[in-house]
């Protein structure tokens, strides 16, 4: 008996699915989606969308389909360096992903097609911009039909954006527990009263939410009523203007100010940058993850060298400032993401495999952990041994800054907590990290204070008996 293990992330769409073959991500197009796929390719829509970088480009390949009986085509989409999830995006990333989705729908309608779903997970950040990665989301437009993806758009995009903009930026994290978007009745309860006097939010969230749980039944395979193309275009235009009207200012975040009010003098920051640049030149990693990246100043030492870099931070304001800089500088190698290392994105959904944890989605060749360790060890009460093990599991190369116990920032953290739970000093640090890494370089930055280390995982060292 032949068993076909379909990808746990791609089992809903009868039109096809994603699977992995020899490290390559492929998408099978089923016969059921043949007409839709052919129209996408022949109508000029595919070319239009890919040229505008709205849809991921793909090649049709001769690879063996995963399920031959249903296969019409196998396509190989352009690879995305790291899959990210909506609850890992800053406000502006989320907003740009929403506008991208609506732009795709607008272009599709002009070519007689429409999006059949609007999952925020279908959008990824690729070369600095959001892009639709689900080629099979596009189907033939049926004149007279309402938009089948309207509810999903409101739940996946409009509700989270409205909550982040008008209630609290941290409510974007509701997407972590609501994989099919934030239910409209929940969103409307959490939104402030003033959202009811904003036309778009009133219409698409509040009024729409009122009819969500109606017992209305549509006839089987029949239309619920006429919905003209001008109404459809009006719907998209209304959603676009509603999304554009939402904003969020990072304000005076403690962490955004942190990089400006740090312990370093300008020449010491320059010295630290020079050391990091030196380590990057020495190792020449293909990918870097900057953990606790703040607004990405040091991440850019890697990304400006053409290295695919992800800048993680747990502060929404830092990630927002970083993403705005990415847009301003039109950077293609830097991806800012919102991740709390003390509570990283977990695996969730069906059998915990539908959406994978951040560490299952990728591994870098080098980790930057700059001015981070005291936050993990003191704020997070993590033993240095555990931190060393975590980093060694993550990447073969580590650039880590040790912050001494008498550093003013460490003293501030210790004062808040009335002491340190686990041993924290340079000897303990080197002892713990030496178990997992060999220390390649040591560079003191501040006299008697901060030290930069370049470390290599012991398993990855070249064998001495060669």
């Amino acid at each position: 008996m032949t068993r076909h293990s379909l990808s746990a992330v791609s089992f809903r769409d009868p039109g096809g699915f994603v699977y992995e073959d020899q490290g390559c991500i492929l998408r099978q197009v089923n016969f059921l989606a043949r007409e839709h796929y052919d129209q996408l390719m022949k109508s000029g829509l595919y070319r239009e969308l890919t040229e505008r970088r709205l849809l991921i480009a793909h090649d049709e390949v001769d690879a063996l389909p995963r399920v031959s009986a249903t296969a019409y085509r196998v396509i190989r989409p352009e690879p995305v360096s790291l899959i990210s999830y909506p609850f890992e995006w800053s406000f502006s990333q989320y907003k740009d992903a929403a506008l991208l989705t609506l732009a795709v729908e607008r272009h599709a309608l002009r070519r007689g097609m429409s999006l059949k779903d609007c999952s925020a997970y279908n959008v990824q950040f690729h070369e600095g911009q959001p892009i639709l990665i689900d080629t099979l989301s596009l189907e033939q437009y049926h004149e007279g039909w309402p938009w089948v993806a309207y509810r999903q758009f409101c739940q996946h995009f409009l509700a989270p954006l409205a909550l982040m903009s008008l209630t609290d930026i941290q409510l974007g994290q509701l997407c972590r527990t609501n994989l099919d978007g934030i239910p409209l009745d929940l969103a409307t309860r959490l939104l402030p009263w003033r959202s009811r006097v904003q036309f778009g939010l009133s219409l698409h969230l509040h009024l729409h939410g009122l009819v969500q749980h109606s017992d209305a039944q549509t006839r089987e395979s029949g239309s619920p009523g006429r919905f003209s193309q001008s109404a459809m275009l009006g719907l998209i235009a209304s959603l676009e203007s509603t999304v554009k009207g939402l904003s969020w200012k990072p304000g005076r975040s403690t962490w955004v100010a942190y990089s400006k009010e740090s312990t370093y003098l300008p020449d010491q920051t320059d010295q630290k940058s020079r050391f990091i640049a030196e380590f990057l030149e020495l190792v020449r990693p293909a990918s870097v993850w900057d953990l606790g990246a703040n607004t990405g100043n040091f991440s850019r030492l890697a990304s400006d060298r053409g290295i695919s870099t992800v800048a993680f931070d747990f502060d929404p304001a830092c990630v927002e400032v970083n993403y705005r800089e990415v847009k301003k500088r039109q950077e293609t190698k830097l991806l800012p993401l919102l991740v709390d290392l003390l509570n990283p994105s977990p695996a969730c959904g069906w059998v915990n495999r539908e959406r994978t944890s951040i560490f299952q989605r990728g591994r870098p060749e080098m980790v930057l952990a700059l001015a981070l360790i005291h936050h993990l060890a003191i704020t997070g009460s993590l033993p240095l041994e555990n931190i060393a093990e975590f980093f060694s599991d993550l990447a073969p190369w580590l650039v880590i800054e040790f912050v001494a116990p008498d550093d003013s920032q460490v003293q501030r953290l210790i004062a808040q907590r009335r002491g340190v739970h686990h041993p924290y000093d340079q000897t303990q640090f080197e002892t713990c990290f030496n178990r997992y890494f060999s220390i390649q370089e040591i560079r003191p930055i501040l006299p008697g204070g901060r030290i930069l280390y370049l470390m290599r995982r012991r398993d990855d060292e070249p064998s001495s008996d060669g």
Partner: protein, 65 residues
């Protein structure tokens, strides 16, 4: 009550293969809601298009995106 409104709102749409219904539940309430606001959306779209045409004629604006 809502079912009764739907039965009034239901028209004769084109014949569509029902396979995509198996993929995503569009929410019967959401589908009905769109039908109910269709007139408003059409009017807004027409007004917006007319305004755009007027601006283009006056200032020579070009569509973006």
């Amino acid at each position: 009550m809502v079912s009764w409104i739907v039965s009034l709102a239901v028209g004769h749409g084109p014949d569509v293969s029902p396979w995509f219904w198996a993929y995503l539940d569009p929410g019967s309430g959401s589908m009905l809601f769109q039908v109910l606001i269709a007139g408003l959306l059409s009017a807004l779209f027409c007004a917006r298009s007319a305004l755009f045409e007027l601006k283009s004629a006056l200032f020579g604006d070009h569509e973006r995106g």
